[in-house]
Each structure stands twice: as structure tokens, then as C-alpha cells.
């Protein structure tokens, strides 16, 4: 089916475009960008007047929980949530049951996503077998089966030697290593950021040094092996300083942060709110300011959600035993648009961090509206005002600290391969 997207403000940093244009989509690909394009017979028309049209947004860090933990989320509900949030592609982490450390699991994800998913799913395989940190996973096989990166996300590779070898080996296979940077011995039994709030609440703290020390190690290993490295969910001032310095001396390091790290501080834990429990933990106002600064100066390449669905029973418990993580796919866009309102990012810079850069980091042919490219397109209504309500979320889980928040901005249309998979009613 063909589609004409008429009169939207098209922002495509991959071509340096920011102007009101029409986009013609034919057979799932971008056919033409221009003014006053006519709709071919039988083509659908999307009126994008007053809306923003961008390359389809990409969330390079989500947990779809499929296979094995479908009671939290599955590929169908997870991709539905992605579509509702304006994402045309997601990269899903391997901490499923079983762990995505082999071709069979990767193939299952790819096949199910193709058959039933609403958006593109790019699997991330594990760095080590079973993500146990003992032996390298078969990265060549994983890549061949469709993995776009490897990560033991959820846990760090504790052995420095193994991390070194992972970086070297992955480079040979041409696959990106994503580091979950955390020094577990410093984390200990910590359940939130170590600071004034943890002192007041009497909860065991996780020092920022647990993230910084691990980030530093991995950055130095990337430098030593001359291998590309991506650091997931950066949350501290110190980690950002390390990454900024590394980039300045030419280390091939990229990183992402998540909307909660520029929207919330550890104050959100007060009242023992388990929907504010995540890993890395919510930090202080200084860290939040540092995250914004790093978004602005380009130290942070991408915004990813670390969408981590958990069942209510796993959150409706004492803070100590609650599982880490929050959902994020449906709140990421408005929280990120706030950065534009606050003057932290321009709209094109935001699109880079939510579409172009994730595609480039993962090496996938997305993130552009160039002629001939796959027609993955997000049409954003920047003025839409809505309230986050558990019942209205497409995700199977509702563990969001933003429930009840008023949001501004939403995906008006999410278009995958030329097909509208979500439109705002």
C-alpha cells in the first residue's frame, strides 16, 4: 500500500532536513520528499499539518521478556507499547529464559517478531554463555541469526580479562559490545543511590563509584583493544566525565541514558516507592544536571528506555525485595520532548539521539528518510496533552514512576515499512 504524508515539519538529521514537506511512500520504502506531492490513486493520506515527521524512532535498549517471562511482557505487547510510544524499532536485551546466547533463541525472537510484532525487533545476544560471565557466547552465530549487538545486560562482566577478550572477539565478528557497567562488590546489598535520601530512609545505598569504576574499566579496555564499546544507561556525573574524556582522545565509545535519569532523582524513592527502584538507581540533582549537560554537548549519543516490565506482584512488596526496573516505551517521547522545551536539545538533536544514532551504533539500515530507505516513520504531535494511566498503557506491566503524570507530546502515527501500526485516536 502507498502512503502520502502531507504537510508535516520533516526533521531528518541524516540529510540535514528541517522543513515542511510531503513524503511519498511506495511499497514500504521512501519514494520521494517534496512540496505539493500528489497522492497516487489508492494511496492513503496522512494529514501531518502541525505535526513533526521524523525517521522512525529506535529504542536500542528494551526488555521484551520473551521467551520465558511472558507474564511480564511478550513480543506482541512489547512491540505494541513501542508502536504506541512512537518507536518503529527496538533492540531487545538477552536476559530472557533461556538467555539469548544461541542461534535458536535469536531465531525464535526474529520469527515471532516478524509474524506477530508491530515494530522491528533487533535482538541483542549475550556476551557470555548464559550471561554467566564464564565463557564467551558464540557471537558469530548470534550475529548471523540476527543479533545486532551483544550484552550481558542486567549484570556486568565481572572478569576484566573476559571483558577484554569479549571486546577483541566481538570486533572480529563486527558486532557491538554493550556494557552494563556496575561493580557488584561496591553495590553489595544496596537498593538505591547512596546519599542523603538512603540515609534518611535507612535503605542500603549504592555508591556512584560502583558505576564510575566499572565505566572506567570498560572504557580503558575499549581503548586498549581499540574496539568499539557502547555503555548502557549512564546515570552518573563521573561516568559521563570518563566517557567525555575518552571520546576526546579518540576512544570508540558511545553511550545512552534513559528518560528517568533526566526526569527523576532519588527523591522519587521517598515513601519506599518501588516504581522508583531501578538499576542503576535514580541519582541526585547534580547527576541529573550532568546528564542533561552531556546530552547537550553530545557526550550522550542516544536516549534508550531500558524498558523493564515487571509484574505487579514483583513490585507490590517491601522496597528491599522489589525487582529493579521500570517500563518506559510509552513515556520516553514526551519526557524527551521536554528537553527541547527546556532548551537542552534542539529537535533535530533529539531525533539524532532517538533515531539516527541508535541506528548507527547498532549498524542497522534505519534512522533516515532518504529516498529508497525503509519507510519507518514517526509522526509526532508535540502539542498532545495526556495523562499516564495504567489502564491505558499497552505494555503488559504497569511499573512506571510516571503514573498520573501529565505528559505533553505523543506519537500521532507510527509507520513501519510503510504501514501505519499506531495512530492516535
Amino acid at each position: 500500500m502507498n502512503l502520502l504524508i502531507k504537510g508535516g515539519r520533516v526533521i531528518d538529521p541524516s540529510q540535514g532536513i528541517d522543513e515542511v514537506l510531503d513524503i511519498l511512500v511506495e511499497n514500504g520504502a521512501i519514494k520521494e520528499l517534496g512540496k505539493g506531492l500528489a497522492a497516487p490513486a489508492g494511496a492513503g493520506v496522512v494529514d501531518a499539518a502541525g505535526l513533526i515527521v521524523t525517521p522512525g524512532l529506535i529504542d536500542m535498549h528494551v526488555h521484551l521478556r520473551d521467551p520465558g517471562l511472558e507474564y511480564k511482557e511478550d513480543i506482541v505487547t512489547g512491540t505494541r507499547a513501542a508502536a504506541a510510544g512512537g518507536f518503529t524499532s527496538v533492540a531487545c536485551m538477552p536476559n530472557t529464559k533461556p538467555v539469548n546466547d544461541n542461534k535458536a533463541v535469536t531465531s525464535y525472537i526474529v520469527a515471532k517478531a516478524k509474524a506477530e510484532g508491530l515494530v522491528n525487533v533487533f535482538p541483542v545476544g549475550s556476551i557470555t554463555q548464559g550471561s554467566k560471565g564464564d565463557a564467551l557466547a558464540e557471537m558469530g552465530d548470534l550475529k548471523e541469526a540476527g543479533c545486532v549487538a551483544v550484552s550481558d545486560d542486567g549484570r556486568p562482566v565481572t572478569s576484566s580479562e573476559l571483558m577484554r577478550r569479549a571486546l577483541e572477539y566481538a570486533k572480529g565478528m563486527g558486532i557491538m559490545v554493550i556494557s552494563h557497567a556496575e561493580d557488584l562488590s561496591l553495590v553489595g546489598e544496596g537498593v538505591m543511590n547512596e546519599g542523603f535520601v538512603s540515609t534518611e530512609l535507612g535503605l542500603k545505598g549504592i555508591p556512584w563509584a560502583a558505576e564510575d569504576a566499572a565505566t572506567a574499566r570498560d572504557v580503558y579496555l575499549a581503548e586498549f583493544t581499540n574496539s568499539p564499546l557502547h555503555i548502557a544507561h549512564v546515570s552518573t556525573m563521573g561516568s559521563l566525565r570518563i566517557i567525555r574524556n575518552a571520546k576526546a582522545r579518540g576512544v570508540k565509545v558511545t553511550c545512552e541514558t534513559a528518560p528517568h535519569y533526566f526526569s527523576l532523582t532519588d527523591d522519587a524513592v521517598r515513601g519506599y516507592n518501588t516504581n522508583a527502584k531501578m538499576n542503576p538507581p535514580l541519582r541526585t540533582a547534580d547527576d541529573l544536571a550532568a546528564v542533561k549537560e552531556a546530552l547537550k554537548d553530545g557526550t550522550i549519543d542516544a536516549i534508550a528506555t531500558d524498558h523493564a516490565p515487571h509484574h505487579l506482584d514483583e513490585k507490590d512488596v517491601e522496597f528491599n525485595v522489589a525487582l529493579n526496573g521500570i517500563i518506559g516505551l510509552e513515556t520516553s517521547l514526551p519526557l524527551s520532548l521536554k528537553l527541547v522545551e527546556e532548551g537542552v536539545l534542539t529537535l533535530p538533536a533529539l531525533v539524532e539521539k532517538m533515531a539516527c544514532n541508535p541506528a548507527a551504533i547498532l549498524g542497522i539500515d534505519r534512522g533516515t528518510l532518504r529516498q529508497g530507505a525503509v519507510a519507518d516513520i514517526t509522526v509526532i504531535d508535540p502539542a498532545a496533552v495526556w495523562t499516564v494511566e495504567a489502564g491505558a498503557l499497552a505494555s503488559k506491566s504497569k511499573n512506571s514512576p510516571f503514573l498520573g503524570w501529565e505528559m505533553k507530546g505523543a506519537a500521532a502515527y507510527t509507520i513501519v515499512g510503510g504501514t501505519v501500526v499506531h495512530s492516535r485516536g
Partner: protein, 311 residues
């Protein structure tokens, strides 16, 4: 004024006036405890359930005596915290307890915030008998009552708290309560046991060492060291701890003459306190225990509405 809270989770949540009221009531309760027949009908027909996820004979017994002296029916449940991780959640436990139709639940739990969680889910009153490293309000109140009996007022006192501040719910309740009542608190302990930002909890000074902390103070509060909780990284040996952070007759001389020595118990003799100090005239440890019953009677009385006394 009346007491408006359904629950007592922590002294942080109470106003100065509410703390005053609890202490005044506790003073009145002390009179009951000195009678021949130590029982009043105040809570007759009420059910108090003591749920202790952590063993504590001392606090549990004190709450039980307090409830019985007010004529409440009491039930003791000891649950092991490990059953929580094995599947029985606190909310399941809460439902089971609620089936007993209690008026007041007194709970001790290893998780900070467990009472906050419970109180939001039950309609009866919840009294915190200690939650993790968060608060231990009955201990804080009995400490204040003990000080008030000796000094007449808490306003203007300087109190040193020495030991493992990070893991101490007693320290937090003392800090919240004492500073609200106008005392100044000085803290000392190994830096491995001093949590960040603690001085922001009230009128609190963190001291470099113990000698600086106790110099010229009215009260020295020594905290219990729980070696099993400290693991091996927070301090090298008890011997060294006793040497640098223990109270003995020599360093006690730095405090005001006749300064009061307190300890939430049970004491590790020769570690936090030398036996000489623990058993001296300056020690208020047994008075603390005695005051514990009166304070807990006051807490039970006020959360249950405090109106049944006319019966």
C-alpha cells in the same frame, strides 16, 4: 490536643507537640506501673497482634506487657523473614493477620519501610517496633523519656551518639526526636559506619572522633555493634573498635560531670561499654528498660484513639 495518627511509623512523622504528648502520657503510665495491681481497663476488648520478623525478646516482651497492663488481648506471631523470600509476601502475611481482626499491629521487620507498606494496606493501627535501619520510635521515645526524667527537659541538651550510625534505626529515631525537641546531637563512629548526609537530618554534628563527640555532653548514647551485620569490611576487630569507640571511665571524664550513659541494649560488655561504666551510677540502662513499658503503653493508648480512659 489529641493524637491524630492512625499509626506510629517513625518520630520523623510526629510534631514536637505530639512527641510531648506521648512523653506526658508515658509519665502518667509510669504511675500505673508502680501500683500493686498494674492493670487498667483502657484497652479492654481490643486486640493487639505482635508480629516479629526479627527476634527481639526485649522489645516484644515490653510491648506485650504494655498491652496487657492496658487490658488488651495480645497475640504474638513470629514470622521468619526468610519466608518472605520463599513466597509468602508481606501483603499475604498482612491479610492473614487482618483475618484476626486486630485493632493494633505491632511489627518488627528487617526491611526499612515495611511498616509504611503495611500501614497503607490495613485499616487498623500499625506501630513500628523497628524497621531495618530506618526507625525504632518506641526506643527513641523511651530514650527521651529517660533524659527528661533526669534533666527536666530535652531542650538544650547535648547528646552524643557513638557507634554504627549507618545501620542503626535507634540512631535515626533519636536524631529525629531529640533534635525536634531542641537538643543538639553529636555523632561519632568509624567512617565506614557514618552514612552520607546524616547531619542534614536535624541539628546534628558529625565529629572526627569519639573524644571530640563526648566532650562536655549531657548524655552519651552508645549503640550496639552487631558484628554479624558488619561483615568483615566495616571494622577490623572488636578489640580495636573497643579501643577507639568504646566508652570507658577515662574518656567518660570528658563528658559533663555526672553525664548520663545510655545504651539500647543488649550490651556487648567490654566492646561498646566497659562493665565499670555499664554498671556505674551514671548508667541509665535499666531505667531505659523500665521506661520502655510506659512509653509503649502511651503509644498503644494514643493510636487507639486515647478516649477509652474514662471507662
Amino acid at each position: 490536643m489529641g493524637f491524630k495518627h492512625k499509626d506510629i511509623i517513625g518520630l520523623q512523622d510526629l510534631t514536637r507537640e505530639e512527641i510531648q504528648l506521648l512523653l506526658d502520657t508515658a509519665d502518667n503510665m509510669k504511675e500505673i506501673n508502680s501500683r500493686d495491681i498494674k492493670k487498667v481497663p483502657t484497652l479492654r476488648g481490643k486486640t493487639v497482634v505482635n508480629v516479629f520478623y526479627e527476634a527481639s525478646t526485649r522489645t516484644r516482651t515490653s510491648f506485650e506487657i504494655a498491652a496487657k497492663r492496658l487490658s488488651a488481648d495480645t497475640i504474638n506471631i513470629s514470622a521468619s523473614t526468610s519466608s518472605v523470600t520463599k513466597g509468602e509476601t508481606l501483603s499475604d502475611t498482612a491479610r492473614n493477620i487482618l483475618a484476626m481482626k486486630p485493632d493494633i499491629i505491632v511489627m518488627r521487620h528487617a526491611a526499612s519501610g515495611a511498616h509504611h507498606y503495611l500501614a497503607q494496606r490495613v485499616s487498623c493501627s500499625v506501630i513500628n517496633a523497628g524497621d531495618g535501619a530506618h526507625e525504632h520510635p518506641s526506643q527513641g521515645l523511651l530514650d527521651m523519656l529517660t533524659m527528661r526524667q533526669k534533666f527536666g527537659t530535652i531542650e538544650g541538651l547535648t547528646v552524643a551518639i557513638v557507634g554504627d550510625i549507618t545501620h542503626s534505626r535507634v540512631a535515626r529515631s533519636d536524631i529525629f526526636g531529640l533534635t525536634k525537641m531542641g537538643a543538639h546531637v553529636r555523632l561519632a563512629g568509624p567512617p565506614t559506619m557514618m552514612p552520607p548526609g546524616i547531619e542534614r537530618l536535624g541539628n546534628v554534628t558529625v565529629c572526627r572522633d569519639m573524644r571530640e563527640a563526648i566532650e562536655g555532653v549531657d548524655v552519651v548514647m552508645m549503640l550496639r555493634i552487631q558484628l554479624e551485620r558488619q561483615g568483615k569490611t566495616l571494622l577490623p576487630t572488636l578489640r580495636e573498635y573497643a579501643r577507639y569507640y568504646g566508652l570507658n571511665p577515662q574518656n567518660l571524664k570528658l563528658a559533663k560531670p555526672g553525664a548520663m550513659v545510655m545504651h539500647p541494649g543488649p550490651i556487648n560488655r567490654g566492646v561498646e561499654l566497659s562493665s565499670y561504666v555499664a554498671d556505674s551510677d551514671q548508667s541509665a540502662i535499666l531505667t531505659q528498660v523500665e521506661n520502655g513499658v510506659a512509653v509503649r503503653m502511651a503509644m498503644l493508648y494514643h493510636v487507639s484513639g486515647g478516649e477509652l480512659a474514662t471507662e
